[in-house]
């Protein structure tokens, strides 16, 4: 009896040590992931959606008749995408990416004024006016005015399975991104596009 119980205790201790030291779960691991093929861990907005939505909207704008029919380069200002969601979505990341793709896809036919750095720009111009040499000083009052304003809204709608006897809950999330381009002279919405997607995720109600 004594020998058996000793063997059980020793076996359990050795087994435990082996699990803790040998199992990959307990080892540090770092690996790069393909950003174009990232998995979703829940139903809410993710980096994959940021990439997909901005790509689709930028393509839609860059290939639109509105841009094609512009006689000259179109100067735009981005006034942000309103996050009408329950999750704290960084919509500035979306507009940053949108701007970047639009500049590339349109071969600079669409240009942007740097509205987020206006303060710094004015500060630097003021500094140069006082301290820089005549040859290198940037001229004041020569900034280009935007002709159009890009705005939008990201809408989220959520649904969950109702109360019932179950061991998991299913969540459905719908997202809709609307992007509008407004003519700053006339105030008319010159062009607009929408992209949407929905995703479901099932989460266990009981876990370890």
């Amino acid at each position: 009896m004594k020998t058996i119980s000793r063997a059980i205790v020793s076996g359990a201790m050795i087994g435990g040590l082996l699990i803790l030291t040998g199992c990959a779960m307990f080892r540090q691991k770092v690996e790069d992931k393909d950003v174009s093929n990232m998995p979703d861990y829940d139903a809410t907005y993710s980096a994959k959606d940021l990439r997909n939505l901005s790509e689709k909207v930028a393509t839609s704008i860059a290939t639109s008749d509105f841009i094609r029919n512009q006689p000259t380069n179109l100067i735009m200002i981005i006034y942000g995408v309103q996050p009408r969601t329950t999750t704290f979505v960084d919509t500035q990341a979306m507009t940053d990416r949108l701007r970047n793709i639009l500049m590339q896809k349109s071969n600079n036919k669409i240009q942007f004024v740097n509205e987020s750095r206006r303060q710094e720009l004015m500060k630097e111009q003021g500094f140069q006016a006082q301290n820089a040499t005549d040859e290198t000083r940037t001229a004041i009052g020569k900034q280009l005015g935007a002709k159009c304003m890009l705005t939008g809204a990201l809408i989220e709608m959520q649904k969950q399975t109702g109360k019932q006897v179950r061991v998991s809950k299913t969540e459905l999330v719908y997202y809709q991104l609307t992007i509008e381009i407004t003519d700053l002279e006339t105030g008319i919405i010159a062009w607009s596009t929408q992209e949407e997607f929905a995703r479901t995720a099932r989460e266990p109600l009981i876990g370890w």
Binding site: M1, K2, S5, R6, I8, V9, Q82, P83, R84, T85, T86, T87, F88, T91, Q158, K169, E203, P204, L205, I206, G207, W208
Partner: protein
């Protein structure tokens, strides 16, 4: 060698030793000094309170509670961004706690409910978003304040027998009003008015708050308010006191609401009105959970008796000791967000268009002055609306 329990099989003896060792190890794990932080907070030593909770252990069963408390401390320190990060993290953790943990559930059956991860009552989780909204209002981040509003509404639309919160409704309505979502704001203002049955009228279109002296006299000021003749208005969220911890009986804490008078350069602008009392919300939540708690307590006691009886069959002395140890671990789960104020009030008053500061005079229900604060920050502005908040930490 003398053995304490001669009839006990060796593997059980080693197992017991291992269990005792592990318990000691876990009990000895360092946790932030929460009570000290709370004491410092209520003594007005916000910096020290923040230092007390500087390191919050990840994965701790009370992580949500620590984050809730630290968020409040940081908001009172004016560290709105850090406070918002704490509350957002608490919200994320809370969402993960929707999954019932078998291991924690089993340990709560043997020890007590304090072994379960802290989530707080539904009203605490809702109010967390109301306070988070204030962080964003202070930073003039209207879009994120509106996200908080949607979270408040989401929680208040799934009450499941828990109490509705007029303060949460009003905050949600106001945040939506600030992003020009006036239709949804009006729905929330109406819902707040429904919850506040007693003394206050809320105009669903303008969000104006008026005393309900009688139905006829209230019509005129509402009509006046709708005209929006005031040059500007100040919306101030004012809170008083400390939410009591533990079981709440009767309505001692929810009687005699204090109020605040608002002045600008000695001119009286108006006063605040009570929108929620956290003691009343806690009492209502405890009543809602009473039956579930009773069943859980009964199951736990039965489990403890069964375990000690099983041990007793092996060894009489150890069985008695086990029974004693298991019942010594019995303790009610009184954990709650203790830096929450007792009274949550709102003042919406006309003010000068160039408002730079204002004075709040805190008064007891009988009108006796309790204290005074000159507020210069937070004081953000959206069009003709000034937004601010302050707290009387009080004794």
């Amino acid at each position: 060698m003398h053995q304490a329990f001669p009839g006990m099989p060796p593997f059980l003896r080693y197992g017991t030793l291992l269990a005792v060792g592990l318990t000691g190890l876990l009990a000895g794990c360092s946790t932030p000094p929460l009570q000290t932080a709370r004491a410092n907070f209520y003594a007005g030593r916000f910096e020290q309170a923040n230092t007390n909770l500087a390191a919050i252990p990840k994965g701790n069963k009370d992580e949500v509670l620590f984050l809730m408390e630290r968020g409040m401390i940081r908001q009172n320190l004016g560290q709105y961004e850090a406070s918002a990060l704490d509350w957002r993290r608490a919200g994320e953790l809370d969402a993960k706690l929707d999954t019932y943990s078998i291991s924690q559930g089993a340990s709560s059956l043997i020890v007590n409910d304090r072994t379960l991860s802290f989530r707080g009552m539904p009203f605490e989780r809702t109010l967390m978003y109301a306070f988070l909204a204030k962080d964003y209002l202070a930073d003039s981040n209207w879009d994120y304040a509106a996200i908080c509003a949607r979270n408040i509404i989401k929680k208040l639309e799934a009450l499941d027998g828990f109490p509705d919160i007029a303060y949460g409704r009003y905050m949600a309505g106001f945040c939506l009003e600030l992003i020009n979502d006036e239709g949804n704001a009006a729905i929330q203002y109406r819902a707040a008015a429904r919850v506040l049955k007693d003394n206050i009228l809320i105009d669903a279109l303008s969000g104006d708050i008026l005393p309900k002296t009688n139905a006829i006299s209230a019509v005129t000021p509402i009509a006046k308010a709708a005209l929006k003749t005031e040059p500007a208005e100040l919306v101030c969220f004012i809170s008083f006191g400390r939410m009591p911890a533990g079981e709440i009986y009767g309505d001692f804490y929810s009687q005699f609401p204090p109020y605040a008078e608002i002045y600008c350069e000695d001119e009286y602008l108006g006063r605040s009105y009570p929108f929620a009392n956290t003691a009343a919300l806690m009492a209502a939540s405890q009543r809602r959970l009473a039956a579930i708690q009773m069943a859980k307590d009964a199951a736990r006691i039965a489990t403890k008796v069964a375990i000690s009886e099983a041990v007793k069959q092996q060894n009489n002395a150890l069985g008695a000791l086990t029974l004693l140890a298991l019942f010594a671990m019995e303790a009610p789960d009184t954990r709650c967000w203790e830096t929450l104020p007792l009274w949550l009030e709102v003042a919406r008053v006309p003010c000068p268009a160039n408002l730079k500061s204002y004075t709040v005079v805190f008064k007891s229900a009988s009108g006796a002055p309790l204290g005074k604060k000159v507020i210069t920050a937070p004081l953000s502005r959206r069009g003709n609306t000034f937004i601010s908040f302050c707290r009387d930490v009080g004794p």
